[in-house]
Amino acid sequence: MAVLELPQWTALAPALVFVATALALFVIDSINPHTRNRSLLAGTTAVGALAALGVTVWFMLAGVGTPTAEGGLGVVELFGGQFVVDQMTLFFTTVVSIVTALVAVASYDYMADHTYQSEYYSLIMLAATGMAAMAAANSLVTVFIALELASLPSYALVAILKDNRGSVEAGLKYFLIGALSSAIFLYGISLVYGATGHLQLEAIADNLDGADAYGGLLGLGILMLIGGFAYKTASVPFHFWAPEAYEGAPAPISAFLSSASKAAGFVIAFRVFTTAFPVEATTAVIGIDWTTAFVVLAIVTMTLGNFAAATQDNVKRMLAYSSIGHAGYALIGLAGLSADGGELVMGAAMMHLFVYGFMNTGAFLFVALAEYWGVGRTFEDYNGLARQAPVACAALGIFMFSLAGIPPLGGFWSKYILFTETIGAAGTNGAMLVVAAALVVNSALSLYYYSRLVKAVWIEDPIGERDALAQPIGLYAAIVVAAVLTVVALPAFGPIADAAQQAAAVAIG
């Protein structure tokens, strides 16, 4: 129980490691301005991310967050409950740090000839810090600050290719929608505060009954909070930034945002709604079960995402829409909360976000590789890549089939367990049956466009001649690691499932 000796604040170690790495990068940059020493910078970033990962895993194993009843160290509360470190925190921190590490390694090649190396990496680290903080935030204050801490660097990262119109346009749209959304979010917070007089989540929950008079106010506030989360998780109707941002941003950043940032968005959503707005109590006040909103959002989001993805020509954009679709899947986790076994649905959603972490990252990193090769952006441009780069394309096949939920890959478990639990929840909440049906339709459709990409690289013959393709070490390493993780996740899914389900159970309490 080594953790016990440490002071409480060390529970935030993962976030601290991130921020430390960011500062280290600044130091390096200030010692040697405009350094192009990529291996040093990317190395530091990767090491930092892996360190954070190591710490997180260590905490998990040490039993941080595991209820003391089960021999764990119990949930660690910091700063009067402004931050909390429990299994959910660690679970999502794991996702964030893994993705960050992969992205850092991949950027080593992708950003090779970029002018502002150290800024790039330190921004990534700061964003990661924000996300780690989101995972731990336990008060609307910290939630908002962490959210902004994650968002602001992201804006910059998306637009970092200053002379690339796509990047800039992406950055602009991302920023504008983001600003609008955060304004709405902030206003929502203010309303909730008004209704309950508190910002700390437990406190809000305790004071819900006092807010009877302001049911409408509270309801509006909650709805605005939902808006804020919807923006962060790229869910309808706050998703409009996503396709452009993902398409225009540097591919590693797209991976970073669509995996880590999305996961972080979900963790705050999970935490706020499970802790601050317990279903029955809230329903009593605002007169309606807020899961209804998520049912609608989930269905609309997954449908819109998949249908729009089906007919894309640009691979990156297809992946962008598909990530909207997956946001829809994950939203089911919140939609099912009012039903018996809601914690199982949420757990399934968390598993999905976990696996999605590396399979989606891997997919975007393959796009990064393709951009590195300069083969072009459309499906046709990808034709016949498998003949020249079988390993990378095999990895792509793994990612695609895993995203489609075809065994024997990690994506299978998360998707089908989600499906299973959705049906289970339907037992007490009929709306979930509609969700399940939508899930079937959408995954069938998703099958079409995922396999379309596999078809392009494996089946089609290349249009015209292509000269030999380089094998950038960093990108390859990242992709292969992601692929291996995706495959290994199938047999080794037991721990993931247990962790997610426990975390969900504890969070709901």
Binding site: G341, L344, R387, P390, G397, F401, I406, P407, P408, F412, W413, Y416, I417, F419, T420, E421, I423, G424, A426, G427, G430, L433, A436, V440, S443, A444, L447, Y448, S451, R452, V454, K455, W458, I459, E460, L490, F493, G494, A497, D498, Q501
Partner: protein, 509 residues
Amino acid sequence: MMIEALLAVTLVGALVTFVAPNRIAGKLAFAISLLPAGLGLWLFSAFDGSGNALLEGELAFESRVEWIQIGEYTVSWFVGLDGISLPLVVLTTILCTLAIVSSWTPIDDRESQFYGLVLFIEANLIGVFAALDFFVWFIFWEAVLIPMYLLIGIWGGPRRKYAAIKFFVYTNVASLLMFGAFIVLVFSLGDAVTSFALPEIATAMLEGGPEAFMGVAGSTIAAAVFVAMFVGFAVKVPVVPFHTWLPDAHVEAPTPASVLLAGVLLKMGTYALLRFNFTMFPEQAEAFAVPIAAIAVISVIYGAMLALAQTDLKRIVAYSSVSSMGYVILGLIAYTQFGVGGATFQMVSHGLISGLMFMAVGVIYNATHTRMVTDMSGMADRMPVAVGILVAGAFGYMGLPLMSGFFGEYAIFFGSFGSGRLPYSQVFTPLAMFGIVIVAGYLLFALQRTVFGPYHLETDYDVGRAPLHDVAPMFVLLAIIIALGVAPELIFEMITDAVDPILENGGEL
């Protein structure tokens, strides 16, 4: 552990082949595939099981390990063989070995990947028949899609992309439907079930049956689930009207893929029908007996009529598969020992015979590069041996006595004619039997036009005798077919032993 060994050998072999140089891939894959084939025969000789795997039977080579906990349900790695699955496993191993040999000639591009995929598909097929936990079974069931998609897509004919995607999406949608239905069943079984182990679920079904779920009465649930699962499997079988993916897939697939598709993949559907619908839902099966029998008869006659209209040899065989599968359905719904046993026997027998047919057609195609009946005549003049085998196979398909096909069909007819469970069985059976006339019609018509008559060939290739390694596998198949035709008891005994418990649940002995 023998089954694990079988799977491991095949999977490792697949990996090895995948990275092997193209030059030796074919021979290497053959050498590797001898291991599972030999192992399969060993299993056959060492088989010591009795009874039905789902109904408290004595399993052979059983092994069970807890894997994943989903809510209160346990998923465990649970495999074992009984008299129904063992013959199919052996069939798979043998057919795959022969398919590999038969593809030495036609496959001349990306060999290592091709043979790797074939071995991969073999592993999954073995898994499908050996698995006894729903999730394990479903993983293998779905995992078959990936290699088959690629086999058709990469090495297929002109419209291969369309065929591949159609096969992929169509069958997967069916699987989703079936999966959802089954999960509903599991949840509606309530506390009676705590794992996804099929025996447990079967017992719960037969003893308690589903409780009300989502406010729907248990009996309604059972009926709905039965129908949904029947449809889901019907696509895989396929039976009219869900058959349209089959001819496309067959026509475009390369010979060995067709061999496996017709030889084993279709059997997955009927096998699943037997395992799930007809083992777990005896009452519903009886309730729906008439419509199902009607579907069976329609499949037989309609499929045969379609075959009659074709001019592409592969399409002919493909549609005749639809027709033959109709017999199997009829035998299953009859619920007599000869009916169900004969159906199971017919699965094996049809696997061998249709495999033989596709190989023979493939050999002719290798030489002529056409499969159009109208493009050739008098092939017997140039390739007497291959044609001789084709004719033998055709007569096997027509159910010539002393070949396995005859026993399969005879047992089904006999079993269904006397069935007390199937109303109007004395009407349905003769109707279905008329298929044996039509099948003779279109096969002989095709033979007359292609292999007999004066030699003529539209495409300008000089046709000579087929190489030994093209003909040898067909001889092996022919030998097995005749052996099973002369002494069906070789496997019929163990089949009936495994079938009896099914019949005891409302069936008749």
